[in-house]
Amino acid sequence: MTTHAGTTTTDTHCPYCSLQCGMGLRAERGSGPGIDSDASKDPGAPGDRDVSVEVVERPGFPVNRGALCGKGQSAAEVLRRGVRLTAPLVRGVDGVLREAGWDDALDRVAAGLAAAGRAYGRDAVGVFGGGGLTNEKAYLLGKFARVVLRTANIDYNGRFCMSSAAAAGKAAFGVDRGLPFPMEDIARTGCVILVGANPADTMPPALRYFTDMRAAGGRLVVVDPRRTRTAAQADLHLQPVPGTDLALALGLLHLLIADGHVDEEFVAARTVGFDAARATAMAHWPERVERITGVPVEAMREAIRMFVSAPAAMVLTARGPEQQSKGVDTVGAWIDLCLAAGKAGRPLSGYGCLTGQGNGQGGREHGQKADQLPGYRMITDPAARAHVAEVWGVDADSLPGPGRSAYELLISCGEEIRALFVMGSNPVVSAPNAAHVQTRLAALDFLVVADVVLSETAALADVVLPSAQWAEENGTMTNLEGRVILRQAALPVPDGVRTDLFTLNALARRLGVERGFATDAEEVFDELRRASAGGAADYAGITYDRIRAEDGVFWPCPDVAHPGTPRLFLDRFATPDGRARFAAPTHRAAAEEPDAEYPLYLTTGRVLSQYQSGAQTRRVPTLNRAASGPFVELHPDLAERMGVGEGDPVAVTSRRGRAVAPARLSREIRPDTVFMPFHWAGEGRANSVTNAALDPVSRMPEFKVCAVRLERVAKVESAAGEGRAIASDGVDGAGFGFGGGAGVDAAVGVGGR
């Protein structure tokens, strides 16, 4: 932190994606409009009024070297009063949400959670966390579920993010870390196959690593059903039918074997299971794969030529191949390609996952996943339970077992789950089959949501607790590289707002647990270090001071003298015998393929200027000007057949629901496929349509492919009212008027706190 007359600049990180770009926050007292510009509130209160805050470059941080995208540059907008919640809301007997005091709100929450547990059993109380929560919050939320509520049913929206890559990576390598190397290695490798990833739109500052690689002679292969801005820069773009990435990977493996490019020495010395992988590749010969994927055999050959001719090469996946009902198998097949070519466990080579949410990595390591305890320990492992129970000072037998996965938890609401505590997530927009999820949430006896803004999910709640944001509190995040970084408070917590750590502490006390829920982030982190010690994701040697001094520390880092581990697997994989495991999957169709009634594929994704369910970004005017609302991208040939022109409203309908948005014509998409971004609520909500078919291992829903039909609609229909009534006195967002139903816009709430 540096201070000059009147201004203070604090080193911290962006509230959005998994890149966790370094940025500075410059706070200035007494000039400009200030973040607390709503002067009608608490005129006499001290603290944050008349403080203006500005995002500034932080060129010293290695991941982004000062670069920020539009979302990062405008991140401070969400700190403003009027945009965010500044008082708890409690639903009255008349069904209307009204501002309340913190004690009243917390009493109501404690009573609601306790009542459901008493009446229906402890597992009837569910907890739903988020991939944007800091490590400290994720850790403490998991502990709150297991120690205070003693429920098995905790999961989080990260299940919708990288769970397939996590499961496949763990099976193959023995440990799951998004990237086994720092981003900087990408710039120095010889070839990258980027599967279902669009960093040009979703993490723009990362793009320079790919352009640097190409400038140095490396080749970029992009696999995507759309010719995205990333694909347009590639040396080779493979454009498969949605849901066929698994067949494509196996077809490439077939060609790699057929053309004699198996690294026999590597396979023999450092892997097991190649014979089974080879057999499954034989069942996916190139002409058959062409039939399944629509990718020409010659293009597959070209991809393999690029991949094997580079001395080092990588395969990186993102949500495209992962958000499928066969996501784990699909990622496994792409890992096979690296293993067979000997392009893993060596410098500048390997498989990696481009994680989505800000703390998608750390969020899954410390205990908010249904089947895991801190340190990436499995909750079914007796030794893991004993270790964590000792740190927590409880009996290991008192810890619950594994609970329901995210979607299964949400659709149990109102039935087995009677009360739900949501922290930092907006499943009404971000969950698949969202209309059904919304119905289930409305059927709960009691719903409490802790969030920064009044999200669509918060609008359904009985109690809403306003959370402090990323610029107002300390906490660590673990970025996609496995680098643990530190967000530092640049501003005081505003009046009427509390940190989530405060909330957990206060609720624990009300529910009879007086100790073990610290409110100081560093104190929580020190406990997390002990809980993770000896686990796969070992943070024991990481301290706030080291993070500040070393631009982050890579886990595993078992003791303070350990330098951290920027690069994994160079000597051995993290399996018991040190060898990587080949997968041997067989291609299968998507859970729902087009038919006469629903003849098209729908795939979903993100746009440059919005983030996830939009909870934050839809409240930022500059971002809304750039991306003002939902749309349906379709090929001009399809549009012509449908009689649809640019901008005409069209309805996308599946067996689950319907979404209406203006048509956007593009030759960059397959004519058998339409695309919708999923950032918006209301009638343009893409997730009203998506399919919740789950991967059998990761329980990842199939966001990326389902069958739909397209229809012209006369005009954009009026937004259907959503949510329950909300008093209008000052809690209704900033009135930017973007989308959304019932005057409440909301959003995803995955980041930024």
């Binding site: 002409e287 629509g294 998409i669």
Partner: protein, 450 residues
Amino acid sequence: MRVGVVGAGMAAARFAQQMAERAPGTSVTVFGDEVYPPYNRALLADVLSARFGAEAIGLPVGPAAVVRIGTRVGALDAEQCSLRLADGEVHSFDAIVLATGAGPVLPPMRNLRVASGPRSPFTSAGATGSTGSTGRTAVAGPVGPSEPTGATASPAPAAPAAPSGEPSLDLLAGVHAFRSLDDCAALAAAAPRAERAVVIGGGVLGVSAARALAALGVAVEIVHQGPHLMERHIDAQAAGALLGGLAELGVAVYLDNRARALTGTDHVAGVELANGHVLDADLVVLACGVRPRVALAREAGLRVDTGIVVDDRLATSAAGIYAIGDCAEFAGDVHGLAAAAWDQADVLAAHLTGGEQRYAGSRTMMRLTAGPLAVAAFGATGARAGDDVVRVADPTRNAYKKLVIRGDRLVAGILIGDLSTAGDLTRAFERDDPLPADPLHLLAVPGAYR
């Protein structure tokens, strides 16, 4: 549930694998008379040209299937739903799947057979489809080891690629079929010593064999009865482009020519054509088509036409007995392509595990790839009145593209040389997708959508 599968070819492998995926507890026993566990027959040309080792083309059958190799089934009792093996063992099942495949057709030629062996995989072109196939022979030949491979996840062939079933025993020395790994091994062993090879038959298999032999450095000629190559799949103009590609490989083609005899006594020395001309040859490959192996089904009293007749659940005329792959006939069609066999295997596995799927026929594409001989063809070769036919021919590059369009649907197509749009066209044909207004887009550039 216990399922017995007769035949261990591609259809059988896919069926077993799909059963394992859908109902891991099901017992599936596969009886194959070759000495290899199931392998990918579509890759035989690649084995011949040494792109793959024989052991590398094994197919997965799922973790629990028992594959009994070298085990010939002697009889099917449809009433008891049981199989009698050649050695007399009888096995009962809840369901039996006939995946007996097809055998190569033996052309009517003098001096082709030197002696009448006890068993031959060939069917005689001069006889009706019912004669001369394996199940009909009364005496069982030597049967290979019949120990089950057990619950193995690795189906790579257990035996080296040495001749074992000796399918060529009764053919004149130097004459080979091209249908099995044994055929492949025998051809691969003969090729280095061969100076001149003649392939009899200019269909897909014959062209593919000629290409592989040429790649091994053997001088190759094709003798073909029809007016142009691969007439079942492509038109005359396309075949012309194909001829150009073959010429670049040094392969000569004799069209409108029937091979009527072989010369040579202990070993083939030449192929005598119907016009009296004799082509010198010390290696002959028979590629005169295949015929469904239906004897077992016919003897068991099942309804057989060209193939074993099945309904849309792949059920034969006998309860509990099913047929898939090259031996099955659905709606009058017998497919000889792996893609159709796998479609059928998938539907049957779904049906036997409680699924609702029905088989509605396969829209399949013929593919032949490698170097200058890339060919893709689908649909009927002839166009109807009123069809739009779009053709692009590039004689310099031996490239040819043709699409037959009916209304806004693609009903047939041929691509020779440049196959960069094959992926899109395959999808449009198979899914019966509507085409863009200007179909030339589909022939133009890779990623024809843009």
